[in-house]
Symmetry: C2
Amino acid sequence: MPTPSAELFSRLKTGDLRAASRLMSRAESHDPATIATLGEIYKSAGRAHIVGLTGVPGSGKSTLVSRLVSEIRKSGRKVGVIAIDPSSPFSGGSILGDRIRMTNLVLDEGVYIRSMATRGSTGGLAKSALTAVDILDTAGFDVIIIETVGVGQDEVEIARASHTTMVVSAPGLGDDVQAIKAGILEIADIHVVSKCDRPDSNRTITDLKTMLAMGINISIKDQSNKPVWQVPVVGTSSETGEGIDKLITTMDKHREAHLTSELGEERLKRIAEYRTFKTAEDLLRNRFFDSTSERISALVEKISKRELDPFTASDELLGNIAF
Amino acid sequence: MPTPSAELFSRLKTGDLRAASRLMSRAESHDPATIATLGEIYKSAGRAHIVGLTGVPGSGKSTLVSRLVSEIRKSGRKVGVIAIDPSSPFSGGSILGDRIRMTNLVLDEGVYIRSMATRGSTGGLAKSALTAVDILDTAGFDVIIIETVGVGQDEVEIARASHTTMVVSAPGLGDDVQAIKAGILEIADIHVVSKCDRPDSNRTITDLKTMLAMGINISIKDQSNKPVWQVPVVGTSSETGEGIDKLITTMDKHREAHLTSELGEERLKRIAEYRTFKTAEDLLRNRFFDSTSERISALVEKISKRELDPFTASDELLGNIAF
């Protein structure tokens, strides 16, 4: 018989990482018997610093995360990573060098890494990722990094559902990659320019600073119009280690300045709202699919022959449901 | 008073592109008065060749699409493009060179281009994109290309909801970009290696051929075990124009070989099923959000203070709904 989720929860509170893994798996598989426990875990969490880290493919996010984890560990803080970037070494699409670098981290009890696949997920990515964050939070992790690729609606939103959002840019990426980046720059609390050992990184840093000076999220102000936070640009090099410690100091400062302000409270509410929508949506979708998939299969032949349309079919499937 | 959707539909059938644009806008804004017409449009469509085109950022998709459109036009066929790639020149994240190249196309009545934003969409991306395809199909377009970036669950699925799926690779991309690519290679009916004017493109072509020879979708077989389609690798250069005509011949051959087979029928059923799920999901989500957003707002304070959890809240919001 499987261990009851409530028992895993008790063990989780003592920092048991095996219990953490098992609870995450149950959450990902939408195990209905675990829902009540996940609710308890949510209520017991709220202590950790949640850091969202995103950037375009090629920006060097994954290597940066490895470096960050090692550096944060030096201060004794426990660090968790939830990686939902398909190119992340943690989520499997990997580069050998990174894999080797990560091996040291994996042997450290103060580090926990969980990867989540974006492909093949039934859409509950946000729910699974943020539940995993609660679980690590409850297990006593101090900093939890959510790493996502900055492409795709869900991925960007998940990175925003954090206390501190870092957007990673890098010099020397192609024009079309840079164009994607434009869409995510506005969500940054901190801009990171990785690969700052490269000479062309100065240009990237200057560009970002110019953009900030032009008024795009240059500072976040509270109701009395007092600037709470000026969005900084921090250069880092995963090669030489330059700037990693500064990035951590900046990240800690942001938490302090922002989260204790009124705006921080607003942000926590926005995150709570997002989570509730996503959790409800997920539950709704699962219930709907479970109970209509047979009826849909029966209609597919007619729809594929264009004798019936998906709009009329959906209307019939949903009937008069109301909330 | 706005023109009734039914009237726009009549005009659409005569090839009126203004009617097409207006119907697409109504579909994107979830206009309930248009649903019945969208159903009629769906039933009247089914003649065009739907081509999904996807690839990682930096693979040169957008330039390739411009080239493809120009070349297909030479045979007199009308070509539509639905661009939902954030880096596409059509969807706004643009490169000047491409914009200029596209200007010629825009002046051509046999070309229609529609871009769709991925960010800020409420999730109905698949429904909007595939409805736009129906609209162009009904307006008499012969080939309709759906261009998406090969990152993000939705984007990849939309590219798959086509008769012929092309995956674009390019030489010289970084390791982590290549890693993303790994996830989309398996959906290809045709592999395209863009930038084949570059000497290192031979390596990319060889790698893909090796992968195919190792048995990953080397050929698609019907029930009698007869190979219906061997997945080819086509090199193209948007610079010199090399291989573009061959790609079009290959694309046409795939339609002929695959769509008329039993497997083609299976594919149309899969697409119909996907569309029905997506349409129903979208309708469901809109109904749910419309009628619960106030109730969610009332709960957010407690949830953000961790006095209530999103799971319990969702359960309450959904109540006993059944389908």
